[in-house]
């Protein structure tokens, strides 16, 4: 174990993973509450279009993916709020289109395909000191807003009409939550990759929900479960030479099933 944490790249991976895991876990409470799991899947796949645009046009891929994903999330939010197309349909149209754009752009050059694999499946072990600052900025943005407006997002998720009636700016809060979701997903691509990031948004929160009797308890257990998943997942990946993203998500899922069983046994008792 001591040998595991003595490497610089492992320390950076753990720090990044803990930050992203905690952010995803807190955000996951709202993803579960507002039933946004599908939009999470959609944004993560749309991010591929942003990565591809960045690679082809020579912009930093993470920054390009961030701007692109936030833009697509806003368009979905706007169309849905107009009420003429359902959210599911809007996601089903826009996100595959954005992903197809990414695939088409990437196919232009063989060189870009190598870099793309890291975004598809995650490569947290390759986080360099420079990447760490960018990720700190992104997770700081998300965690900061979530901490400042936690109770407002909660009210919005529970009863949007009552929140509006109480004078909360529902439209602004909805767009802000979509932006936080897009930014967090883009940041977490480095940890678990586009394919697995949406699972990381849902599973720790579901674990928290299964074991707690209050929202505060759900947040705490979700964060603890995400931190455990990152630590144990990376250690197992190092031990058995597994892909780091898959290892983190599998450990997270194992925690969920254990908590689900525990919750079921407790409720019967």
């Amino acid at each position: 174990m001591m040998e595991f944490v003595s490497f610089g790249f492992i320390q950076r991976a753990l720090l990044t993973g803990f930050l992203l895991g905690a952010t995803c876990a807190v955000l996951g409470v709202f993803v579960v509450l507002k039933r946004m799991a599908f939009i999470g899947v959609g944004i993560s796949h749309a991010a591929l279009g942003g990565v591809a645009l960045g690679l082809v046009l020579g912009f930093p891929p993470l920054a390009a993916a961030g701007v692109f994903s936030v833009g697509v999330a806003w368009v979905i939010g706007w169309i849905t709020r107009k009420g003429e197309v359902s959210e599911d349909t809007a996601i089903g149209i826009f996100f595959p289109t954005a992903m197809a754009l990414g695939v088409a752009l990437i196919s232009v050059s063989q060189t870009y395909r190598q870099g793309l694999m890291g975004y598809l499946f995650g490569d947290i072990l390759s986080v360099g000191p420079g990447d760490l600052w960018g990720l700190l900025l992104l997770t700081g943005f998300s965690l900061g807003w979530l901490a400042l407006l936690f109770k407002e997002f909660l009210f919005l998720g529970v009863d949007e009409e009552a929140a509006k009636a109480a004078g909360l700016p529902a439209a602004f809060l909805n767009y802000l939550l979509l932006s936080i979701l897009a930014v967090t997903i883009v940041a977490a691509m480095k940890l678990v990759g586009i394919v697995l990031v949406s699972a990381f948004l849902v599973i720790p929160a579901a674990t928290g929900q299964a074991l707690s009797s209050s929202v505060r308890g759900m947040v705490v257990i979700s964060v603890v479960s995400a931190l455990l998943s990152v630590g144990a997942g990376l250690w197992l990946s190092w031990l058995w030479n597994l892909p780091s993203g898959a290892s983190v998500v599998l450990f997270s899922a194992a925690l969920f099933f254990a908590s689900y069983l525990l919750g079921t046994v407790r409720s019967r008792g």
């Binding site: 509450l33 003429e84 109770k151 009409e161 009552a162 509006k164 009636a165 929900q209 209050s214 759900m218």
Partner: protein
């Protein structure tokens, strides 16, 4: 008794028109509700009842005409309005406690960034006490019966110190006994605090027993006045296509308003 902060007309709609896309929902609706009264908006599905409530809450804007609440356009921060919806639809298993739900009624007052104080929690306890739900404050909201959930939502509305309660189909899904208890309790609160009540409902017989004014809406106001007069009007049978219900005012209310309601399970569906 009327709320000391209110006088005159609390709600005012003047020649209000509204449409969703090409579908006209409200056509020249005018109505007025005086302070301290209980007015109920009745009408069939699609008559525009929920649209009127959304206009009063400032969630929608009229295409034409004016809407005012306490003499000002609705939706302004700080208006003393409590809103009681049909219910809240939480994901199964979401661990939201009764106290968490009621505390949300204070969020408009607390403001962003700041946290709830001991005083806010004290107000939550008082509001739960008023609706006789204090003993269930730590229970999960989803574990309550339909009637209990509605009482918690009333507590959430009361915790913001409202002069006006707007209720949207508050008894849908409740059995007749739970409906009668609900309206009895709401009327007790109205009398004790001088609240103005404005309620949209399908339960014509129930609201007719308790409201002072019935407003029959079918895209426009078809009849309005004391319940007995409105129910006798031809407009009721034209709108509902059946004879108006026979209502004995007062009997039910006195029987039901003080019944004990502490049992954890009561009528209605969670």
């Amino acid at each position: 008794m009327t709320c000391p902060r209110c006088e005159g007309s609390v709600l005012d709609l003047n020649d209000v028109w509204f449409q969703y896309g090409r579908r006209k929902v409200l056509e020249g609706v005018s109505l007025e509700v005086p302070a301290g009264s209980f007015a109920a908006l009745i009408g069939p599905n699609g008559a525009g009842k929920s649209t009127v409530l959304r206009l009063l809450l400032g969630i929608l804007k009229p295409k034409k005409g004016t809407v005012s609440v306490f003499g000002r356009p609705p939706g302004k921060h700080g208006q003393p309005i409590g809103y009681v919806p049909q219910g809240i639809n939480l994901p199964r298993g979401f661990p939201l406690s009764v106290e968490d739900v009621v505390l949300m009624g204070r969020y408009g007052t607390i403001g962003p960034v700041r946290r709830a104080t001991r005083d806010d929690r004290g107000r939550v306890a008082e509001a739960l006490d008023q609706v006789r739900m204090a003993h269930l404050s730590n229970r999960r909201f989803e574990d309550l019966s339909g009637g209990q959930q509605q009482r918690v939502l009333i507590a959430r509305a009361l915790v913001s110190d409202p002069c006006l309660l707007i209720l949207d189909e508050p008894t849908s899904g409740l059995d007749p006994a739970a409906r009668a208890r609900f309206y009895g309790q709401v009327c007790d609160l109205q009398r004790a605090q001088g609240l103005t009540l404005f309620c949209a409902s399908h339960d014509v017989e129930d609201v007719a027993q308790h409201a002072q004014t019935l407003i029959l809406l079918d895209h426009t106001v078809r009849a309005s006045g004391p319940p007995q007069d409105v129910l006798k009007s031809r407009a009721v049978s034209e709108v509902y296509q059946f004879p108006p219900p026979h209502v004995h005012r007062g009997e039910h209310a006195s029987e039901t308003s003080h019944q004990p309601e502490d049992s954890p399970v009561e009528g209605g569906h969670p």
